[in-house]
């Protein structure tokens, strides 16, 4: 049985317009053979939860450079069960200070990447860990 490609939602929650990084990552994941859905800017946590469910993605990525990562992550977490997001992988990218990494992990974020992260490391992290989150 051939496995379908890993499906990733790259999203831009909140009002932040910095989309260079999100698009760079989206292209890298695509080049690595993944199915990538990029949401475009200014999506609400509700938009993202719904899209993740409708598109049946394995990975939800949120790119945030405005400093609003904690409130936005909390809002998505509050919707997690309602949208039956189950054990999907949850990644956050952007400029998230070190001091907030633990708080994001407590909310349920699996990994945080920043502009220092190598694209191949992001790809590898997804490939190596996505299987640990079996699809519902």
């Amino acid at each position: 049985m051939t496995r379908r490609p890993i499906r990733v939602l790259v999203s831009k929650p909140g009002l932040d317009g910095h989309d260079v990084g999100a698009k760079v990552v989206a292209r890298a994941l695509k080049d690595a053979g993944m199915d990538v859905i990029y949401t475009g800017l200014r999506k609400t946590p509700e938009d993202i939860a719904r899209r993740a469910k409708d598109e049946d993605v394995d990975v939800i990525g949120m790119s945030i450079l405005s400093g609003s990562h904690l409130p936005l992550a909390r809002r998505l977490k509050d919707l997690w069960d309602e949208y039956d997001l189950g054990t999907r992988m949850w990644l956050v990218g952007g400029n998230v200070p070190e001091k907030d990494h633990e708080a994001l992990a407590d909310i349920g974020v699996d990994a945080v990447f920043n502009s220092r992260s190598r694209l191949d490391d992001i790809v590898r992290y997804i490939e190596e860990n996505v299987a640990r989150w079996p699809r519902n």
Binding site: L15, V36, P71, R75
Partner: protein, 551 residues
């Protein structure tokens, strides 16, 4: 060695044995040495007549728009700031002015930039975070309290909500007794680039361009010294394009605003001289200088030859240059201090009217007062100690810089031609073609940094073991947000509901009729209508931008 020889053979130039070809970021091959034979060859445009022939302050202004440039007055130092509420921002404004800033560059928070009030559910978590929160005219009154608006020119970095913020600025100044017929100042107000990079658009492309036209027309008639638009190649460069394209896109965008304004019956010399530009300066120093020299010459020719401008001031490519955010790194942030100094040097050698530098800590936080002071001191050093103000266009006549200026002119021309061939800038942005191209370039650049082809100090060479960065994080103050929400509530309770209602109805009617919306927006802000209320009325008529997603 074998590899070097192969690369040498690929090069069209005769290179010394073993020397590999080198390219500027816009793709121009750079020779190991330039001589008098490289002058005047150019592209036959007639502008690149090299050393000595042309004088600054004279058409086509390759060497600068003023004859005496910084001899008379150094560039305006306009560091970008704003956070929390108007009160907190006012304190920082005064700190920057005391430190030597000669202009202000206002950062608005994202809800304000996107036309949302601070109590809008979509603003949750974003109020006051990346800039100051503005809901009503009251916030402008507080933010600029004690600032002499004749001595300190103010630039408003806002786009989707720019018409409202311009109206608030003019209303605030008028209330304080300034004559808006002579008031100077600038708004960014470049919505087309916002749709390529930066992202604080609100309305669809066509009404957005009309709204820019409304502001240009209104200012031409009522505030003729105010610069209603600063066309930004800057953010398109930040988003991935090369330096020549940065300028090419900016010129095509500026032409779109000019065409929109001409349709209204204004003559070119009535308004085009108040359009200005915002360009980036990271990258190769001589290429940047050549970009600006070529750009000035081209813009002057476009205005004179294509638009029939008669007044030389209409032909000036006035600009803020600086920033360089894309060139700064999160690694070894103190290296950004040196980068900032070189970027400032690029901007000064290029004849910028205004300079703003990104601070070294900006990858981490809203800049600390100390980081802002370092940026301002960087520019003051150039003025006071390095002799950069002593002569105009000091690189004019350099074989290399003159040849590169001609080369950049050809590249910028080609970038503009491609946009035109593909259906024009407005269609290219509405359909997402330009965003797609620019973002692919960003991706390819990122890969080149990762594989070491594009060298980045501290990132892919000269690395040190990761250490805790020596930066001071900006404190988020919950009380600023509480104050903002309380003040908004108070404004809504105290203002005349009838006056607001009347103004918003007039705005709706004018928007539906396709009349200039600025008079009604000015009336609305004077009645303390909020950013969210005014935007809501316009969105009800215009709709909202649907971003073409091209990945």
């Amino acid at each position: 060695m074998a590899e070097e020889l192969t690369r040498e053979m690929k090069s069209g130039l005769e290179l010394p044995h073993g020397v590999a070809p080198v390219f500027a970021d816009s793709g121009i091959e750079v020779k190991p040495v330039y001589t008098a034979a490289d002058l005047n060859g150019g592209n036959g445009s007639g502008g690149g007549n090299g050393a000595g022939e042309e004088r600054p302050g004279e058409y086509p202004f390759t060497r600068g728009i003023h004859a005496d440039m910084y001899r008379r007055r150094p560039w305006t130092m306009r560091q970008y700031t704003g956070f929390g509420n108007a009160q907190a921002t006012n304190e920082r404004f005064h700190y920057l002015i005391e430190t030597g800033n000669t202009g202000l560059n206002v950062a608005f928070d994202l809800p304000s930039q996107c036309g949302l009030d601070s109590d809008d559910p979509a603003a949750e978590g974003e109020v006051g975070r990346v800039g100051m929160a503005v809901d009503s005219l009251r916030d402008f009154e507080v933010a600029f309290d004690g600032v002499d608006l004749d001595a300190i020119t103010v630039s408003l970095t806002v786009n989707g909500a720019a018409a409202i913020m311009i109206a608030m600025y003019l209303a605030m100044a008028e209330k304080r007794g300034y004559d808006i017929a002579t008031l100077r100042g600038t708004a960014q107000n470049d919505i087309l680039k916002e749709m390529v990079g930066r992202g604080t658009w609100v309305f669809p492309v066509e009404p957005s361009v009309r709204l820019v036209g409304d502001t240009i027309e209104y200012c031409a008639r009522h505030a003729p010294n105010y610069s209603p638009v600063s066309v930004c190649g800057y953010h398109i460069r930040e988003s991935g394009c090369d330096p020549a394209e940065e300028m090419g896109y900016a010129f095509e965008i500026a032409k779109a605003y000019i065409d929109e304004t001409l349709r209204r019956g204004l003559a070119i010399d009535d308004f085009a001289g108040r359009l200005s530009f915002n360009f980036n300066v990271f990258g190769k120093l001589f290429e940047e200088v050549a970009k600006f020299r070529a750009g000035r010459r081209m813009w002057a020719k476009i205005l004179k030859e294509q638009y029939g401008a008669k007044n030389p001031k209409t032909m000036w490519m006035r600009m803020i240059a600086g920033g360089g955010g894309f060139g700064l790194t999160i690694d070894q942030p103190e290296n950004n201090i040196m980068r900032g100094a070189y970027y400032a040097l690029s901007a000064v050698l290029s004849g910028a009217q205004t300079i703003a530098l990104c601070c070294y800590d900006e990858a981490y936080t809203i800049p600390s007062p100390r980081a802002q002071q370092i940026s301002i001191r960087t520019m003051q050093l150039l003025i006071e100690e390095l002799g950069l103000c002593d002569t105009v266009d000091p690189l004019g006549g350099s074989y290399f810089v003159e040849a590169l200026t001609d080369g950049m002119e050809a590249k910028i021309e080609a970038a503009m031609q491609r946009v035109q061939d593909e259906g024009g800038i407005v269609a290219g942005i509405a359909g997402g073609r330009i965003q797609d191209r620019v973002s692919q370039q960003a991706y390819e650049h990122h890969r080149r940094v990762e594989n070491g082809e594009a060298r980045k100090v501290g990132v892919n060479c000269y690395r040190v073991p990761e250490e805790k960065p020596d930066v001071e994080f900006h404190p988020e103050r919950r009380e600023d947000l509480d104050m903002q929400l309380a003040s908004l509530k108070q404004i809504r309770a105290e203002r005349s509901a009838d006056a607001v209602d009347r103004a918003l109805k007039r705005l709706h009617a004018d928007a539906v009729a396709g009349a200039n919306t600025m008079p009604a927006i000015v009336e609305a802000v004077k009645a303390y209508a909020t950013v969210g209320e005014i935007t809501g009325v316009l969105a009800g008529v215009y709709g909202r931008f649907e971003e073409p997603v091209t990945i």
